[in-house]
């Protein structure tokens, strides 16, 4: 059996700021197999409302202690239930699911661009890439409280909407400034669509390969329901990209942006 199914123990579930929480799970099978960019599909409660699982990017993995982390914002019924899950509780989790980031690089300048909760998968990615590469990260959030805890790579350049940390303004402006200063070999981005569209433009302008992680509502998470269709670039109008199975990580050129 490829996936670890169900019965994962909550080790910790703590607020990191505002309405954002860091959930730590004891999940040996997932910890052993997880790659940056993959997600877990989690039932937030035991009842039938909310009915569906929720996909969460993997935020961090501690292979030695068999721990897996996700970092989530309380946005609705599901995450509000999840917020109340105490240490020791068992959660129903499947994963790791999806296709992760391209990490087969060494000695490179890798740029990570995250907006809001889109920072989550980049935290796992940054930790992995930093072992063999120079990681430069650019995080955009509303306010200081939305910044992620526990960095395992060099300090990010931060942009906040309210100016409470880093520079007031857009993360893509901070990114462009840095791209004018030094060459990046590859970019990775996750965040709101408007931010991704801007990163796509910058990657084209500075001729840098770019991978994006797309967010989508999902039902099954395993390619069965076709609910998470994302538009494909190019002339092939016959099919879609499935965020759950073909992604959530894509090369920017695979995705239709307009």
């Amino acid at each position: 059996m490829k996936y670890h199914v169900r019965e994962v123990r909550v080790v910790d579930n703590v607020k990191t700021g505002g309405d954002i929480y860091l959930l730590t799970l004891a999940a040996p099978a997932i910890a052993a197999a997880a790659l940056p960019g993959q997600f877990i599909h989690l039932r937030c409660g035991e009842g039938l409302d909310p009915l569906l699982r929720r996909p969460f990017s993997i935020y961090g993995v501690d292979r030695k202690n068999s721990l897996v982390q996700t970092w989530y914002q309380v946005v609705g019924k599901g995450t509000d239930l999840l917020r109340k899950a105490k240490a020791g509780k068992t959660l129903d989790v499947i994963g790791p699911l999806g296709k992760g980031f391209f990490t087969d690089i060494a000695g490179r300048n890798a740029g990570l661009v995250g907006g809001g909760m889109g920072i989550a998968p980049l935290m796992f990615l940054g930790g992995e890439l930093a072992q063999n590469n120079r990681v430069h990260s650019f995080f955009g959030v509303r306010s200081k409280a939305q910044l992620p805890p526990g960095l395992s790579f060099p300090t990010p350049l931060v942009a906040t909407e309210d100016g409470s940390a880093g520079r007031r303004g857009l993360v893509t402006d901070v990114l462009e400034q840095e791209l004018q200063r030094q060459k990046m070999d590859i970019l990775y981005a996750c965040g709101p669509r408007a931010m991704l569209q801007q990163v796509v433009k910058l990657a084209q302008k500075y001729d840098i390969p770019l991978q994006v992680s797309l967010e989508s509502a999902m039902a099954c998470g395993v390619g069965a329901c076709l609910g998470c269709a994302c538009e494909k670039s190019g002339a092939d109008g016959e099919s879609w990209l499935k965020a759950c199975q073909d992604g959530p990580v894509f090369w920017a050129a695979e995705v239709k942006w307009e």
């Binding site: 409302d49 569906l52 390619g223 069965a224 076709l226 609910g227 998470c228 099919s239 879609w240």
Partner: protein, 310 residues
């Protein structure tokens, strides 16, 4: 002694009455990491049309209380691609493969049915005359007895395979449609497809689905489905496949006692990928506990309380 879960339906022998619902299991490839297809009573694969269909634009999903609205719109690669790329891999599935078919015209249905004769893998056709997510065809054929009868009759005349009619609950009189498709030669009836529903995104002040409306599935629709199975099973002679919000063995037993010979699991697979396997185990346990030698004995067990007022 281990209870016998075997059921015979539309000329197919199934080792247990638990099937997958079309459109929730891909072409049998989605859940093989969780358990083997051979454990299923039967595999019903995604709806297939003559030409490839792109389906509807996203958002295609909206969650509702204990329910799921979808507007996938019959996205599929078309019958030729299904014959070439998907069905051959199912020859060792270890379970009967049933292909769900849909079309825009009676001729479409007939041609898909005829093309599927080319595959030795296919054991029956499930004719979808109930998809709420496509503009023409689908539901239009299933909401009027005359049309339903014409589609099923035409497929039946041109196909050597058993034909299962999948009916829509979005009708005034389900019994009338069921009798019409039985008369037209249907070998079994699947009840129910999704209920047409809608959700409004109050933040955006617009429908949550790009297609505006979608098909509601999940536990929210189960009582509607159980009622229809209960009613139709007492009107027709052909066996019924009950579906609509089944997640547990208890849910499946409701349908069986209401009159279904088999059940299909759809949205339940999304909630619990091991749903079908656990239902099969739960049915076995129920029969053991209640000393039921053969599960067929439970079909229609609830009928006897009917005083005719339904």
């Amino acid at each position: 002694m281990k209870p016998d879960l075997t059921v015979f339906l539309a000329g197919i022998k199934m080792k247990n009455p638990v099937m997958t619902a079309s459109g929730t299991y891909g072409f049998g490839d989605a859940y093989t990491d969780f358990y083997a297809l051979g454990e299923l009573g039967a595999l019903v694969v995604k709806g297939v049309t003559l030409e490839p269909r792109r389906g509807n634009p996203p958002p295609r999903l909206a969650e509702t209380p204990a329910g799921l609205l979808n507007s996938i719109g019959l996205e599929n690669p078309g019958v030729e691609a299904v014959l070439k790329h998907y069905l051959p891999g199912l020859s060792q599935a270890g379970t009967p493969v049933i292909v769900n078919i849909a079309g825009n015209s009676i001729d479409d249905y007939v041609r898909v049915a005829e093309r599927l004769h080319a595959s030795p893998v296919v054991k029956a056709l499930e004719v979808n005359i109930s998809c709420p997510n496509v503009k023409c065809g689908g539901l239009a054929f299933g909401s009027e007895p005359g049309m339903a009868s014409q589609v099923i009759g035409a497929v039946k005349r041109h196909s050597r395979l058993p034909v299962i009619a999948k009916l829509s609950p979005n009708v005034t009189d389900i019994g009338e449609i069921a009798l019409a498709v039985e008369e037209a030669g249907a070998d079994a009836i699947s009840l129910i497809n999704t209920l047409v529903g809608m959700k409004i995104d109050i933040k955006k002040r617009r429908p949550a689905l790009a297609n505006l409306v979608g098909g509601l599935s999940g536990p929210a629709v189960r009582p509607v489905a159980v009622r229809m199975v209960y009613e139709v099973s007492q009107k027709v002679k052909v066996p019924l496949i009950g579906l609509g919000g089944i997640i547990t063995a208890e849910d499946a037993l409701e349908f069986i006692m209401a009159g279904a010979s088999a059940v299909a699991v759809g949205t339940g697979n999304f909630i619990n990928p091991c749903c079908c396997r656990e239902i099969i185990a739960g049915l076995t346990a129920y029969c053991e506990t209640n000393k039921i030698a053969n599960i067929t004995a439970l079909t229609g067990a609830a009928w006897r309380y009917d005083d005719g007022s339904c």
